[in-house]
């Protein structure tokens, strides 16, 4: 065939006469997305995502269906092309239902793969689970203890009985790791770049960890003598023992991160010096200033800041609290202060909060345990004034009695004062656990832009501050004082940006677009068996009141495994291979523009897909984009035609032949349709105890079931077999595979079915075949 040259995006590309533009582009490494294209089938041209512009042709042309001509000048990245692809994807996604990712992953600020590690735990794979967690959370033992787990708030198991104990599983994995000496993740080869991190709190330690994994040299400057920041100095020992923080920080140091303790930037070393010493600097100084509510007398002796108080306790300093302590505030810091005051021997510990317990931001378990330890809750009261006794120390707290009014913008009911009704508490100590602020001393003078509240200002997508090469994350930035995992999320997201910056690139963080179901209710899971969490041992209140011993005991491997099995497997099993998801994010889609009816609306009573009774193949109609690949591959490649298109227009759908369940069709379970499906509309049941989506590694092998010697791709996760599929031949086309190669290459209990089917494919006489066909025809209800 004659050689031709086509110019694609300015690049001369060699091709052969008769090739399509797509083939020429692919052979020359130019990316053109496709959804309905498969080398093995006749060109179909339905998806329209492969459109390109060819000079001299006023129309957009489909690269898959257009034969290249010598001298063609092709553009794959014009605005018209991009816009057409984008709108097409938006239309597809406007009719695509399901959950790309499970709600737990979405709820976690760091998008930790909760479903993945919970699933691995269900398989008893603690090490693999730990490694998956550490992809996003460098401090799992610590975070597993203190995280208020927004993941669990969204966990749909809560619609059955109670959410999966995702945090406890994380803690188990973390403890498992520490018990084994600590896993050291591999780091990329040294980049030659260095990063200075200010603060060894959750943000600083984490960003150091991620950047180190990327091969950068990292030095952390820490003002305190020990690592952990607020994890260490703001959270009491009984919740998070210090040695856990030390050990987890130690792992990061063992990875090669240098932490300089007792080195306060702006005091012990100048900010300018730090900037000069590194190619980039990350600020993670936290928010260490306690703020009050503005009540009178907050400056009296005996009135303390909540985090100041907690820090003093950690450092073994005298807190100066008396026997009657009022803690103001309803968050976790307030509960920590209450329970610490109890442990320090205070006789009466009050918690003053202006709403009811239901509105308290603190974790329910913290409130419950504080109550068990004797904390007196003065809900619906708000301090007006603290007054001093004769010795000048605070003696009384005057409280305004409140009631709940209308819900505010956040949905919480606002407290309003009950006119003229007050209450007085006799106290000798008041601890203000209301809010925190940033102390940017030592950094502010250098031209660093601050927020109105003196936080460090940065761009939320690029994490860049006003100073070149200076990034920021965690509590100290943008007045976003939040939970530790939020700071870790900042670390994860900013590390990518900083890495790009160090390589001279720009890669702002963008929250990925995903499809999610919003219609799931209790009804969805009515058929599920109730199964509660394994029991978690906690110290008896009477015992724990008097010491700082850790309250929560932690789980055994069996507990964690059992708990993992409660996962409902919400997230799409094909997440890691879904081309629709990949393109959607590549083209920055906004499908909400076209929201409307669904052709296959999600069933309110099921989370999981169409039940075809098929032993290996699972269909999800709501995820079908009607590319027709399954239908065509089944007919043209497998020669079976077990699937077909039914209906017209928007309501067209793929159905097994004669509209019977797939298991009753002529399907030979070769799984070619699953391999061809670009989305999660056709998936396979994995031979795993928990069929969770895992980012597998692929290797090629030869199937040994028969003498044909088909080449297969084996997909593994951490050495564990996940699935098999056809391999690409030298011609670039996927090769043949049968049920045994596809679904039999494992200790799959379902294998018997396939074997039986394979056996049934032996040679028979004409009469037998005719009789069998007759039986099959009779079975059809037509």
């Amino acid at each position: 065939m004659g050689a031709i040259t086509v110019t694609i995006d300015g690049k001369p590309c060699a091709g052969r006469a008769g090739q399509t533009l797509l083939e020429v582009a692919r052979e020359n490494g130019v990316f053109i997305p496709t959804l309905c294209y498969d080398e093995r089938t006749e060109i179909y041209g339905s998806c329209g995502i492969c459109v390109v512009e060819v000079e001299g042709n006023p129309k957009l042309v489909k690269a898959c269906a257009t034969v290249a001509a010598d001298g063609n000048v092709v553009h794959t990245d014009t605005e018209r092309v991009t816009e057409s692809r984008k709108t097409m994807l938006e239309l597809l996604l406007s009719n695509h239902t399901g959950d790309c990712r499970p709600p737990c992953v979405q709820a976690c600020p760091a998008h930790t793969d909760c479903q993945g590690y919970v699933g691995l735990m269900a398989m008893g794979k603690a090490q693999e689970a730990l490694e998956l967690i550490k992809d996003k959370i460098p401090l799992p033992a610590s975070i597993g203890r203190v995280c208020p787990h927004p993941c669990e708030d969204e966990c749909r198991r809560g619609l059955v009985e109670e959410p999966v104990a995702i945090a406890y599983i994380k803690r188990f994995c973390g403890d498992f790791d520490l018990g084994g000496g600590g896993w050291l993740p591999g780091c990329a080869p040294d980049s030659g770049k260095s990063v200075g991190v200010v603060g060894a709190g959750p943000y600083g330690l984490s960003v150091a960890y991620f950047l180190r994994r990327m091969g950068h040299a990292v030095t952390v400057y820490e003002a305190m003598p020990h690592p952990g920041g607020m994890l260490r100095y703001g959270i009491p020992q009984y919740r998070l023992p210090k040695d856990i923080v030390d050990t987890e920080a130690g792992i990061i140091e063992r990875m090669g991160v240098e932490i300089r303790y007792d080195t306060k930037v702006g005091a012990d070393i100048s900010f300018e010096e730090v900037r000069k010493a590194h190619d980039a600097v990350c600020l993670g100084i936290g928010a260490w200033v306690s703020t009050g509510s503005g009540a009178g007398g907050e400056d009296l002796p005996g009135v303390l800041g909540g985090i100041d108080f907690l820090r003093k306790v950690v450092r073994g300093e005298d807190t100066g609290i008396g026997g009657s302590v009022a803690i103001i505030g309803g968050g976790n810091t307030a509960m920590d202060a209450c329970r610490t005051a109890v442990r320090l021997g205070a006789k009466k510990v009050y918690n003053v909060y202006r709403r009811t317990k239901n509105e308290m931001p603190a974790d329910a378990i913290e409130i419950e345990e504080a109550e068990e330890e004797g904390v007196i809750f003065k809900n619906l009261t708000n301090p007006i004034e603290y007054t001093a006794g004769p010795d000048g120390r605070v003696e009384k707290a005057l409280l305004q009695v409140m009631e709940l009014g209308e819900p505010d913008a956040s949905g919480r009911r606002s407290p309003v004062p009950v006119e003229g009704k007050t209450e007085t508490l006799d106290v000798d100590t008041v601890i203000l656990a209301i809010g925190q602020a940033v102390d940017p001393a030592g950094l502010g003078a250098e031209g660093l832009e601050l927020t109105r509240k003196k936080g460090i200002a940065y761009d939320p997508a690029t994490f860049r501050t006003s100073l070149d090469g200076v990034f920021c994350g965690g509590d100290c930035g943008n007045d976003k004082i939040s939970i530790a995992v939020e700071a870790i999320a900042d670390a994860k997201h900013s590390s990518g940006v900083i890495d790009a910056y160090l390589r001279g690139a720009d890669a702002p963080y963008r929250q990925p677009y995903i499809v999610e179901r919003t219609d799931v209710t209790e009804r969805t899971f009515e058929d599920r068996e109730r199964q509660c969490r394994p029991k978690m041992d906690v110290l008896d209140p009477a015992v724990r009141r008097g010491n700082f011993d850790e309250v929560v005991a932690g789980w055994t491997l069996d507990d964690a495994r059992q708990e993992g099995s409660r996962c409902l497997e919400c997230g799409c099993g094909d997440f890691f291979e879904c081309r629709l998801y990949q393109y959607a994010n590549q083209y920055d889609v906004k499908p909400s523009r076209f929201l409307g009816e669904y052709s296959a609306p999600p069933a309110p009573d099921r989370l999981n897909p169409t039940d075809d009774g098929h032993p290996f193949i699972v269909r999800e109609e709501g995820k079908c984009i009607l590319c027709g690949l399954c239908v065509r591959v089944c007919e043209e490649v497998a020669g079976v035609a077990a699937l077909g298109l039914v209906g017209r227009g928007f309501d067209t759908e793929v159905r097994p032949e004669m509209e019977r369940p797939l298991a009753e069709s002529g399907c030979v379970a070769c799984g070619q349709c699953v391999s061809a499906c670009p989305t999660g509309a056709l998936q396979e049941r994995l031979p795993l105890a928990k069929s969770v989506p895992l980012e597998t590694e692929k290797r090629e092998d030869v199937c040994g079931f028969c003498g044909a010697g088909c080449r297969v791709v084996i997909e593994e996760y951490a050495g564990m077999f996940v699935k098999a599929g056809p391999a690409r031949g030298a011609d670039g086309k996927l090769g043949p595979i049968c049920a045994l190669g596809k679904f039999g290459l494992t200790e799959n209990p379902l294998l018997d079915g396939a074997k039986a089917k394979a056996k049934a494919l032996g040679a028979v006489s004409f009469e037998e075949a005719f009789a069998a066909i007759g039986e099959e025809v009779k079975r059809l209800k037509i």
Binding site: I43, Y44, G45, S46, C47, G48, V51, K59, L60, K62, A65, V67, E83, S84, T87, M88, L91, L92, S94, N95, R593, F594, G596, E597, I625, L626, G628, G644, L645, G647, R648, G649, F650, D651, T652
Partner: protein, 579 residues
């Protein structure tokens, strides 16, 4: 004397079969002398049943309209002068130029002899015995005949391509596209019912020209009468030897069979039609390869529309120049239109290409029903667009119509008056194409659905700022990104209504008003002082929303009113108005 009853589907629907039966019964009692025949539709569908009486010399002596069975005796007695066609209605026909419809309504479609008597199969004989296949194609080229199915592609070019295509030793096929699916279009049906041999003859000539020995007529199953008449015609033609082996001793053989479609609009698209012919799901295929290269069973195939074929015998018999004498420079010959909608005289009209639109609507169609104001005409069915009254001078030819944003298409002409809401009209057509999309291309499948949802929102009074722009964006991208003509043209009704009636869209969205007082969500019924208190409205109101005493003005309770319009329909004084 000969009596002919018009028995196209329109006539049958109006009771022509009963009229025929009544006439037959009466004639049976009288003895011989008077022949009773049937014919297809003559074109004045609005006057059916029509009974023609011919004198012995073959001239038309009387044409009775609305000739229902109870007037059969009167007709025979000569006591039905009140039914004689008026001069004005007769002019409906005389203003036309009839090539395609030359025999429609005049000959008995079930008798090949009548077709032959009218000069039928002379063209085929001429082609086979006096012309080479190339010569036939040359003649077609000289005629300037373009495809009447919608796209207006030069017929000779397609034939030439099919003739020159390498069949690899296999067959070539001549396919007639009779899958007429546009709402309101019935040109092809009338031809098939009224003059089926014209189509057969055209196909045979075409088969000779391209070297095909086999023809297939893909006709929609919803045309049962057409199918029956085609079957009869094929059988008679075979019997007469004008189809079959060695026609007119030329050595050329040609056979035709019928394939009934299953009712998918998209099968009118040629590649989908081929898929359907092959027993596959009716879904368009990529072009190239074009059917002329790889069509039916991957063999060279030529596909023409019914009307195109019906023109062919005339072109061959009278010569291309005779055909080209009609029409404009680029659009030759005549075109059949199905006039429907708010028109006084709905029916089939055949006019020379280039006649101004207003001459069709006012001249032949007699203007707008109830003398309302002419607002627009939808041309080309759901694939076409609307042409506003302001452009009524537009000549009806391919280029001029395309310039307006509409298309000549297969010839549907739906006339709209001032009471038609253009947004709702666009919604109607999009609802049609949305349902008829085969579902293959994403843009067509989902895009038309989303456009429809936006239009439904707008007509329900829930339109939002930005909706018009979103419609325009989707329209352009759907046209750009669809494989076949259905998707490429589906947004046209929306685009043209936005182009000419953007104000109506804006009124719906921003003022929450339906300009034409049509969209239920945006109107209210009110009773004016013209009310005489006859109580008819209140009696007919299904939800008892109207109250009032006899001989006093009535009132509508807007809270109860469901806007069904029964009050307006029943008011004899025009006192119920829509606001």
């Amino acid at each position: 004397m000969r009596i002919v009853v018009g028995e196209g589907s329109c006539g049958v629907a109006s009771g022509a079969k009963k009229t025929e039966a009544a006439l037959a019964a009466l004639l049976a009692g009288r003895g011989g002398g008077i022949a009773l025949e049937k014919a297809g539709c003559v074109g004045n569908c609005y006057l059916e049943p029509i009974v023609d009486v011919y004198a012995d010399d073959g001239s038309l002596s009387a044409r009775y309209v609305h000739a229902t069975e109870d007037r059969a005796a009167d007709i025979l007695e000569g006591a039905a002068d009140d039914l004689l066609i008026s001069g004005e209605d007769a002019a409906f026909l005389t203003q036309q130029e009839r090539i395609v419809l030359r025999n429609a309504g005049l000959i008995n479609p079930e008798k090949i002899e009548e077709y032959i008597a009218a000069g039928g199969y002379e063209a085929l004989k001429k082609a086979l015995t006096q012309m080479t296949p190339e010569g036939v194609i040359e003649e077609i080229k000289a005629s300037g005949l373009r495809g009447r199915g919608g796209a207006g592609f030069p017929t000779w070019f397609k034939w030439d391509a099919a003739r020159n295509a390498d069949a690899g030793g296999g067959a070539k096929y001549m396919v007639c596209n009779a899958d007429e699916g546009d709402p309101g279009a019935f040109m092809d049906r009338s031809v098939l019912e009224g003059d089926p041999h014209a189509v057969l003859e055209g196909m045979a000539i075409g088969g000779y020209a391209i070297g095909a020995r086999e023809g297939v007529i893909y006709v929609r199953a919803e045309y049962p009468l057409a199918i029956v008449r085609l079957e009869t015609a094929i059988a008679q033609a075979e019997e007469k030897g004008v189809l079959g082996e060695d026609i007119f001793g030329s050595g050329f053989g040609f056979s035709i069979r019928i394939k009934a479609g299953a009712g998918a609009f998209v099968c009118g698209e040629e590649t989908a039609l081929i898929a359907s012919l092959e027993g596959e799901r009716g879904m368009p295929r990529l072009k190239p390869p074009f059917p002329a290269q790889k069509g039916f069973w991957k063999q060279p195939t030529n596909i023409n529309n019914v009307e195109t074929f019906a023109n062919v015998p005339f072109v061959i018999r009278e010569g291309g120049a005779a055909f080209a004498a009609f029409g404009t420079e680029k659009s030759k010959g005549t075109k059949v239109f199905a006039l429907a909608g708010k028109i006084k005289k709905g029916g089939l009209v055949e006019v020379p290409m280039g006649l101004p639109l207003k001459d069709v609507i006012y001249g032949i169609g007699g203007g707008i029903k109830n003398d309302r104001a002419f607002k627009a005409v939808q041309m080309g069915g759901p694939s076409g667009g609307c042409i506003p009254a302001a452009l009524a001078d537009t000549p009806v030819d391919y280029e001029s119509i395309t310039q307006t944003g509409a298309i000549v298409g297969s010839g549907g002409m739906i006339v709209m008056d001032e009471d038609t809401c253009m947004v709702d009209m666009a919604r109607y057509f999009l609802d049609f194409t949305r349902k008829e999309s085969c579902g293959k291309c994403n843009y067509c499948r989902i895009g038309t659905k989303r456009m429809l949802e936006i239009l439904e929102r707008i007509t329900a009074g829930k339109g939002e700022d930005g909706d018009i722009e979103k419609l325009e964006e989707l329209a352009v991208k759907i046209k750009d990104g669809s494989l076949c003509g259905l998707g490429q043209t589906a947004p046209n009704p929306v685009l043209t209504t936005i182009r000419y009636f953007r104000n109506e869209y804006e009124d719906h969205i921003f003022k929450k008003k339906c300009t034409a007082h049509y969209c239920k969500a945006l109107i209210r019924y009110e009773i004016t002082d013209a009310c005489k208190g006859c109580t008819l409205c209140a009696k007919n109101c299904p939800v008892d929303a109207i109250a009032g005493k006899v001989k006093e003005k009535h009132e509508i309770d807007q809270g109860l009113c469901i806007k069904c319009g029964k009050c307006e329909d029943n008011c004899k004084f025009g006192a119920v108005v829509r606001d």
